[in-house]
């Protein structure tokens, strides 16, 4: 068991609580960097997919896990990031400019959309964002001259300082690119949580009333959360476009939005680890299911809806038995071992609240 003896306020907000955890993450990073030499191209592609989903998950986690605003419309922002990045590149912009600009554009659009949306909360926000996700599909079709509508677009080659990166011909370079962006996004997220803005997010999540009593500007904080969340999601969307190679209006459907939300719930709301755990589940579930089907000896006929059905089942079990997600379970196991004979069953008991309507008062 490690004991943190804090001697200054900085200890509370350090990136890593101690040398050991710094060592663990450094080792993880080293393994991630040398991964292309350890794996074949197929699994490398799958790991790349996990990382891209994790970035998207970080984006939504900032909004849902950190600020407490459930969004079912983030596929719309994935689409916006993807289309804008690739359209900029078709105009001849280099990737290193087009990619961040696409993220910023998505963030700005997200903030503008957030301004009416922040008046809504809970269920109304979820419904408004569902509508947004459905509208995005139709809008892409209507903007045919720019987006090529139903026929879709193809992702161009990425060139950074003369190095050509493409998902199929150079999967290792594409993997490193995605890894670098993942690390940057994770660091940005972690640093954001240490800043006053990140604390304001958590305050808004836990209680809007007490947050405003503490001097947090609720509307501005929510808009900032929306903007930052959309920016990260937009970056993930651009990477998804490059990963898929080709995409059209149906690539970023409402199912993607829902999957994204379910992913962070399974992973564990409100934690960076949760986004990564959830991404692993989402990305490997189809492979796992097809392997399981081979093992059982079932026919190779695809069962429609199997993936989403199993995914829904997993999610229901998680919400019923482990609302804190995979990360929550991991924390419980770890603390049980750290405290070994002293861990008690009630340590993680959540306080139940009784519901009071907000309709009538």
């Amino acid at each position: 068991m490690r004991i943190h003896f804090k001697t200054s306020y900085d200890h509370d907000i350090r990136l890593f609580p101690d040398l050991w955890s710094f060592g663990v993450y450094a080792a993880l990073l080293v393994i991630a960097v040398i991964l292309p030499w350890l794996m074949d191209d197929f699994f490398l592609g799958e790991v790349t997919n996990v990382l891209i989903w994790a970035i998207a998950g970080l984006g939504l986690m900032l909004l849902t896990g950190q600020t407490g605003q459930a969004s079912l419309g983030h596929a719309a922002f994935l689409a916006l990031g993807c289309y804008s990045c690739i359209i900029f590149m078709e105009q001849g912009w280099p990737f290193l400019i087009a990619f961040p600009v696409a993220g910023i554009l998505t963030g700005v659009v997200g903030t503008i959309i957030a301004i009416p949306a922040i008046r809504l909360h809970g269920i109304y926000l979820a419904i408004a964002t569902i509508a947004l996700s459905i509208l995005a599909d139709d809008i892409i079709v209507l903007l045919d001259p720019i987006t090529d509508g139903v026929s879709g677009k193809f992702a161009p080659m990425i060139t950074i300082f003369g190095i050509e990166i493409e998902r199929w011909t150079t999967p290792d370079r594409f993997y490193w690119l995605v890894l670098a962006i993942t690390v940057l996004c994770t660091l940005a997220y972690r640093n954001l949580l240490r800043s006053p803005l990140g604390r304001a997010f958590a305050a808004v999540r836990d209680s809007e009333v007490s947050a405003s009593a503490m001097g947090v500007h609720i509307a501005r904080t929510k808009a900032a959360a929306f903007g930052l969340s959309c920016a990260i999601t937009g970056l993930a969307g651009a990477l998804m476009g490059f990963y898929a190679g080709a995409f059209n209006n149906e690539t970023f459907s409402i199912v993607i939005s829902i999957t994204l939300l379910m992913m962070i719930v399974i992973g564990g709301l409100g934690s960076i680890h949760g986004a990564f755990f959830g991404a692993v589940v989402v990305a490997f579930l189809p492979q796992f299911l097809s392997m399981a089907k081979d093992l059982v000896g079932g026919s190779s006929v695809a069962i429609p809806g199997l993936e989403t059905g199993v995914f829904g089942m997993i999610l229901i079990l998680f919400i019923l038995f482990e609302p804190m997600g995979i990360y929550g379970r991991w924390m419980k196991i770890r603390i049980w071992f750290e405290l070994f004979p002293f861990a008690r069953k009630d340590m993680f008991k959540r306080q139940k609240s009784y519901l009071k309507t907000e309709r009538l008062r």
Binding site: P116, A126, I130
Partner: protein, 291 residues
């Protein structure tokens, strides 16, 4: 004449949306939860009735099968609450939202395994023919939908306003703790409302299936019903019906007067407009929360 025809066909569609929306509103009114799987409930109800009625499944007469389907769905709704939702008691609304979305996926998968993914038609005695009232064609099924919807809305409205159980349901949603103190069995009331909403979903499903073919993905109509419930204002039964009618009527008019591609957008665009300008619907019950 065209306008009247569009209006009539819109009204019949709108009633189906309104019926699904009624299911949402029932649950919301009594538990403050939102059942995102209501559309899939509707689909399931339709398929249960289809499974009982159609010749190559069970082959029961329709007038026996339809009430049976309603009862089965009511029991299913109650059991769902008993085994799943009751365990979420005291958790946030968002947890319920995510849970019911997942539930929708599971229902769609199970129904797909049982009944297949091909569109099927219910052998319904309601789908017999059309009336022709001075140039306006009105299907028998459409008429049945409109009549049943209006009756059902009136009954439920009276149920919530007049009966002890209805009042208990309202009390349970407004303040759970106080309702407990008043001797209301809050959890059982919650189970009953899920059963009731399952029954309403079955009625909606049977009527929808009488109007045309039904398939597994018909459950996605639930999203339009959402738009209806929000436009009407969550928590108001007549509002839900009204919202359903508005959405239903807007659709045919939009596809008639606007170029292709814009018509699907119309209900959602209206939904966003309502949310921006009247965030709690046209028939709002919300007051600002004071501290």
């Amino acid at each position: 004449m065209e306008v009247v025809q569009l209006l009539v066909s819109g009204l019949a569609n709108g009633c189906v949306y309104g019926l699904i929306a009624l299911g949402f509103v029932l649950i919301y009114k009594a538990t403050e939860q939102v059942n995102f799987a209501q559309g899939d409930f509707m689909m399931l109800g339709a398929f249960v009735c289809l499974g009982l009625t159609n010749a190559h499944y069970m082959g029961l007469p329709f007038w026996l099968a339809a009430p049976l389907a309603v009862v089965i769905m009511a029991v299913l709704g109650y059991l769902l609450d008993f085994f799943v939702l009751r365990h979420l008691f005291g958790q946030s609304q968002t947890a319920v939202v995510i849970l019911t979305i997942a539930l929708g996926f599971v229902i769609r998968f199970v129904a797909g395994v049982i009944w297949g993914h091909e569109p099927q038609t219910l052998e319904s005695p309601l789908a017999v023919g059309d009336f022709n009232l001075g140039g306006v064609v009105l299907g028998m099924a459409d008429l049945a939908v409109i009549v049943v919807t209006v009756l059902l809305t009136l009954c439920l409205y009276q149920f919530f306003q007049r009966t002890r159980l209805g009042l208990a349901m309202q009390a349970a949603s407004q303040n759970q703790m106080a309702a407990y103190f008043m001797g209301i069995p809050v959890k059982r009331v919650q189970g009953m409302i899920w059963g009731l909403s399952g029954a309403v979903a079955a009625v909606a499903g049977i009527l929808f299936a009488s109007k045309g073919a039904i398939e597994i993905s018909s459950g996605l109509l639930g999203i339009k019903a959402f738009a209806a419930a929000v436009i009407g204002g969550f928590g108001s039964l007549p509002g839900a019906l009204m919202g359903g009618l508005i959405v239903g009527v807007i659709e045919p008019f939009a596809s008639y007067y606007f170029p292709a591609g814009y018509s699907q957008i119309a209900p959602y665009a209206l939904l966003l407009l309502v949310l921006v300008f009247r965030p709690h619907g046209l028939f709002s019950q919300v007051r600002i929360k004071k501290v």
